[in-house]
């Protein structure tokens, strides 16, 4: 399960994620993080069953947490199976099947947005999951 964590750094540089890992014992995978002098945002991946405990702990530490419901979406009527997205994706979300048709493993995606930006046919977008 993916959580989008945003936190303020105004009161100093608290090692929020490290503390969550230490206190809960849950191994957190940081998939994407953008931190500047005043605030930070991190996309973390955790086992589904640990969602509650991690969310509560993050909230205690002053972070706001949102379960990520967006995912990458492929418009098959626009896609021509060129494969421009394959080699630029840091998560190896895209691949060709035996018939050179573009396949997508959306679960691996961390929503970095790179493929959306470069798709020559504008076939990729973010959409709300479900």
């Amino acid at each position: 399960m993916k959580l989008l964590v945003t936190f303020s750094r105004k009161e100093g540089k608290k090692p929020i994620i490290a503390q969550v890992v230490r206190d809960t014992g849950v191994l957190v995978n940081v998939e994407r993080a953008l931190i500047d002098s005043s605030e930070g945002e991190a996309l973390i991946d955790i086992p589904d069953e640990s969602c509650r405990i991690v969310k509560d702990k993050l909230a205690d530490l002053g972070a706001s947490v949102r379960i990520l419901e967006e995912e990458i979406s492929l418009d098959e009527s626009e896609c021509v199976d060129c494969g421009a997205c394959i080699s630029i994706c840091p998560q190896e979300v895209f691949s060709f099947d035996e018939e050179s048709r573009l396949r997508m493993d959306a679960k691996r995606c961390v929503l970095c947005g790179r493929c959306i930006e470069i798709c020559p046919h504008r076939a990729l977008s973010r959409r709300i999951e479900g």
């Binding site: 021509v80 060129c82 494969g83 421009a84 080699s87 691949s95 050179s100 790179r114 020559p120």
Partner: protein, 502 residues
């Protein structure tokens, strides 16, 4: 054994022709032998589907009442060339909209018309006695045009060099996004399915030969622009009626950071007349080699990083200098296959016959570079030759003094051998004064990653470096990385008012 074109066309007409795609041919030749394949196969169909920037179309709009001689023409705000009589225009695929920039262009206009959408035509004129009208606006569908003839000056590249990027920043090119440090390889082309690769000596592909273009029955006009078949980079000029095309095989696209282009589906049937045709159509991906070019070098003759074949490119992974790198294609192999198999159906069904070129394409011709009579300015001509440098072991205070005395904002830092090792700016020194924790010497506060230029680099390239890195000066270095000058934003002013401004 030899077959005649007449025999092949008779079998096509009778619905008995044996047609295979260029992808099926190598295995068939391996199985039946060359003689066996010649007896068995009548036609080999080829196909490619990729970005073909050099595409466009002629339109004839019919005369308005009162009539206008269109001098400038826009279709959905994309300008078309109207210097052709009164109501003709040529729209180029890469021309961009005046209102939507790279999100819409000539390619989109063609795709929209083929998709059956209405397109707004705007035209202006100064008005003449015979054509009094000065402005015109109307909505048009493809069926409202007298002619909409796609005419592509350069399509169907025989093969195309792959692309990578050795620099430390992302590049956005017409070959797509290239990750830093050769993080990926991008390529284009259908390899063994490519039309010219199945007839590299142009024995059977030439003027007048029928082709599949964008879903329509079209024709090869002849040699494409910039064709260099002697070097293995042949191209074709092709034409077809847009009214018979469909958007399965004509797709507008935008290469981020580059601009608009058109994906075109193109295929050519090759009649199997003799053993030489059998051999040339048995070409495999392993036989078609290209270079991986380093797009990090901003010059016409970019260096090759590696030589690879299409089997390696299509596999999805390559090795560059011991590291595994993923590959991406920009063209679609799946759709190239569809072109070849639809063309196969056409010929099996007797819809298209084959013919020989009415005029041969010269297979030995090579394209040359541009002859330039006026050289653009080089860094050498405008750089500041007064070089004030500082050594890395000097105190920050001395750097501040030098900056004040030299009335400059940038101070290249050199080591004991005179080699550039860093740079300090007035900003870095101000920061060191306000925040003195870092140390007291130049080497403690200098930036070690310095963007540089050389004396013979074109100024345009240096300007691009300034812009890309958001900086205002570049040390000019020689081969030994010693500083021979500085190029600052101020020096660029010399370009105005001097001999470069004409």
């Amino acid at each position: 054994m030899q077959k005649t074109l007449h025999q092949i066309n008779e079998r096509i007409r009778d619905g008995n022709a044996r047609v295979v795609t260029a992808e099926e041919m190598p295995a068939l030749v391996a199985e039946l032998g060359e003689e066996g394949a010649l007896a068995e196969v009548d036609v080999v169909t080829t196909g490619t589907f990729g970005a073909m920037c050099s595409s466009g179309g002629f339109f004839n709009f019919g005369h308005a009442d009162p009539p206008i001689r269109m001098e400038r023409v826009w279709l959905n705000d994309v300008e078309a060339y109207a210097g052709l009589a009164a109501v003709d225009a040529y729209i180029g695929a890469t021309q961009q909209s005046t209102t939507r920039e790279d999100q819409y262009g000539g390619a989109h206009v063609m795709e929209d018309l083929i998709a059956g959408k209405a397109v707004e035509l705007r035209a202006i004129s100064r008005g003449t006695d015979c054509y009094p009208r000065r402005t015109l606006t109307t909505e048009l569908l493809l069926e409202n045009l007298n002619q909409a003839i796609m005419c592509n000056p350069r399509n169907g590249y025989q093969r195309y060099n792959a692309a990578s990027n050795s620099t430390d920043r992302v590049l956005h090119t017409y070959m797509g996004m290239l990750l830093p440090s050769c993080g990926n390889v991008s390529y284009s082309g259908s390899g063994l399915l490519n039309p010219i690769s199945n007839d590299p000596r142009f024995r059977l592909i030439g003027s007048g030969v029928p082709c599949f273009i964008g879903g329509a029955e079209g024709m090869v006009i002849g040699e494409g622009t910039q064709a260099s078949p002697g070097a293995g980079f042949g191209t074709l000029m092709v034409t077809g009626d847009m009214k018979e095309m469909n958007t399965e095989y004509i797709r507008a696209a935008t290469m981020t950071g580059y601009g608009v282009t058109l994906y075109v589906g193109l295929g050519i049937p090759i009649p199997v007349l003799d053993l030489e045709t059998v051999r040339s159509t048995a070409v495999r991906d392993e036989d078609i080699w290209v270079d991986i070019i380093d797009y990090g070098v901003p010059a016409r003759d970019r260096p090759a990083i590696e030589r690879v074949n299409y089997a390696m490119l299509k596999s999805g992974h390559l090795e560059i200098k011991g590291e595994e790198v993923r590959t991406s294609s920009l063209s679609s192999l799946r759709r190239a296959r569809k072109v070849a198999s639809e063309l196969k159906e056409w010929i099996e069904g007797g819809k298209m016959a084959v013919c020989l070129p009415t005029r041969r394409i010269d297979p030995t011709k090579r394209a040359g570079p541009m002859r330039e009579t006026v050289q653009g300015p080089r860094v050498l001509e405008i750089m500041d030759r007064r070089v004030i440098t500082i050594s890395e072991d000097e105190p920050i205070r001395d750097a501040a003094r030098k900056l004040l005395k030299g009335e400059t904002n940038h101070l290249p830092v050199i080591n004991g051998n005179g080699v550039l090792v860093g740079i300090v700016t007035t900003y870095d020194i101000s920061k060191a004064v306000v925040n003195p924790g870092k140390g007291t010497h130049v080497k403690d506060i200098m930036r070690r990653k310095v963007v540089t230029t050389t004396a013979d680099e074109p100024v345009d390239i240096a300007v691009q470096k300034l812009e890309k890195h958001n900086i205002s000066a570049l040390p000019v270095v020689d081969r030994e990385y010693r500083v021979v000058g500085m190029l600052t934003a101020m020096d660029l002013g010399k370009l105005f008012g001097g001999r470069w401004l004409k």
